[in-house]
């Protein structure tokens, strides 16, 4: 680690060509955020966990279905084995934890290390940092979630087809469920990013996220009377609408309704994150 100040040209101002056209643009911030996202070990680990959980649980639950089916009475067979697509997507539901935590870490990791000051110093308008981060992470998590879900689906249905329980990707609603599942996973990741931006501390943000996606549904299900209809409008309920085939309309919204509700959550979440990012001292 010896540095020489004498080395000619290094400290002196560069020929203009080196920096010609150097300025902040949206595609450049996207590229920078992609580098940031892919150069952290936490990204690799959380996404790997999400993949393994999605595919592993998808196969496991499908295998359990098959063995349960073999032991079931004809009445049980008629009532309990109605949604084979969902059986192979169980893992995707749990993978939300990993993707959501990654969403949180992408921004709280910047706050805890001070990196946020470098990020906002390089892009003083600030909003491109948040939105490019969201875009890059959203695309990556959607593509990975969809890939994992497709593998889980085909493997799961292959297992279910040992007893001819499986469905095919060409069956009604199946493609919508697979795409919707990936969108649901991505949405939870982006909500994690929004919460992380709002709260800034890793622990607090993860607690808030897990509370929102796992605890709030428990609370809404315990509410008396018509109040339990609130469940349709929390992220978990809206996501459920995306991945359910033939659900009870009293309890589950239409897929389009669920999509709209999730999009509203994202707009409100990322919108308030953007607002505080602009207003707050970094």
């Amino acid at each position: 680690m010896t540095a020489t100040t004498e080395a000619p040209g290094l400290g002196s101002r560069q020929p203009a060509s080196v920096h010609a056209g150097a300025k902040v643009t949206i595609p450049r911030v996207l590229r920078s955020e992609w580098t940031k996202l892919t150069s952290l070990r936490s990204t690799v680990w959380t996404l790997l966990i999400a993949l393994v959980v999605t595919i592993g649980f998808g196969c496991l639950i499908s295998a359990i279905w098959v063995s349960e089916w073999r032991n079931a009475s004809p009445e049980e067979r008629a009532t309990d084995f109605t949604d084979p697509v969902m059986a192979s997507l169980t893992g995707a539901y749990f993978s939300q934890i990993a993707v959501g935590v990654l969403g949180v870490l992408l921004i709280t990791g910047e706050y805890s290390t001070g990196m946020i000051r470098t990020s906002l110093g390089a892009v003083p308008h600030r909003l491109p940092v948040l939105f490019c981060k969201a875009a890059v992470f959203g695309v990556l998590s959607f593509v990975l979630a969809l890939s994992a879900i497709l593998v889980a689906f085909f493997a799961g249905q292959a297992i279910l087809n040992q007893e001819n329980l499986g469905s095919s990707i060409g069956d009604p609603h199946v493609l919508r469920v697979l795409l919707g599942g990936a969108f649901f996973v991505m949405a939870i990741g982006l909500l994690g990013l929004a919460l992380g931006t709002l709260i800034r501390s890793t622990g607090g943000s993860i607690a808030a996220l897990l509370g929102l996606i796992f605890v709030v549904p428990i609370i809404t299900s315990l509410l008396p009377g018509d109040w339990d209809k609130i469940h349709k409008y929390v992220p978990d309920g809206a996501g459920e609408a995306l991945v359910t085939i033939g659900g009870d309309p009293e309890r589950v919204m239409s897929p389009l309704g669920g999509l709209i509700v999730l999009l509203i959550w994202l707009v409100v979440g990322l919108g308030s994150a953007a607002y505080v990012l602009i207003r707050r001292d970094a």
Binding site: M1, T2, A3, T4, T5, A7, L10, G11, S12, R13, Q14, V18, H19, G21, A22, K23, V24, T25, R28, V29, R31, S32, E33, T35, K36, S39, L40, R41, S42, G109, E110, T113, G114, M115, I116, R117, T118, L120, G121, A122, V123, P124, H125, D281, A282
Partner: protein, 327 residues
Amino acid sequence: MIEARGLTKRYGTKTAVDELTFTVRPGIVTGFLGPNGAGKSTTMRLAIGLDRPTGGTITINSQRYRDFPAPLREVGVLLEARAIHTGRTAYKHLLAVAQTHGVPRRRVDEVLGLVGLTEVAGKRVGGFSLGMGQRLGIAQAMLGDPGVLILDEPVNGLDPEGIRWIRNLLQTLATEGRTIFVSSHLMSEMAQTATHLIVVGRGKLIADTSVEDFIRSASGSAVHVRTPHAARLTEALEAAGAHVTLTGTETLDVSDWTAAQIGDAAFAAGVPLHELTPRQVSLEDAFMDITRDAVEYSHGQAPSPRVPASTAAGHADAGANTARGQA
């Protein structure tokens, strides 16, 4: 050129920066000096738009930082609190910063070479020593080859070789016509690096002067004199207009007179001298002297948990104790 005009920043009821007005000129190294908690870091954060001023303005080359289309090209920044994700390698960190501006990869390699980190470019920053972290921060500041550099405590954690390296680097960069604004709480460091000084205490401007003038005014010559006839000599010197302080039965301090003048006066008065010692007021003492009222968390008062435990701070604290002992 960095210009602060009436710059003020309050956090709740606490005023961190109080009506600061100063100008940092290109072509020289300007030191930004003040005790811990004087508002140096806050001023620098205000300069690069991380914090919003409560009042007043701070501009760089007559523009607000956030209005630059290519901030890295205009201003290189090293913040005292580290601003680097520890989980990323040095190379990927610099690359991500460079990419926001479309600065080419070869410039990343170049700045890594400039600070001597080429060999550890692929290592994660979390494993870096404080000194390596500072070098990486300087590499980042140099990415866009900016005309203005704002460096908060850049010598913190550097070894003597590193300190000399940064001193040379800053002077070279200033010679090239860049504006160099460097903060420190160590007067001795600034005396060797800077040409001009902006001194702050409790967020207020205390001095805006050249280092030369600062040293000259600070080390106002006091001469220590020992003589068996202290009273007679005092009388003679005071009659001639000198300012004399009796410090013992046989000792006195004379300010504003040179040793030669005092010796001549004593000879004329027929007083034998046993000792005649010009005393240099150290720069650190002079600094402590002018900032004493402005030291926010000084020792002897309730111990503050906010005093950082770094060795550099320890040095300053030792200086503070010395100044207190003399006061």
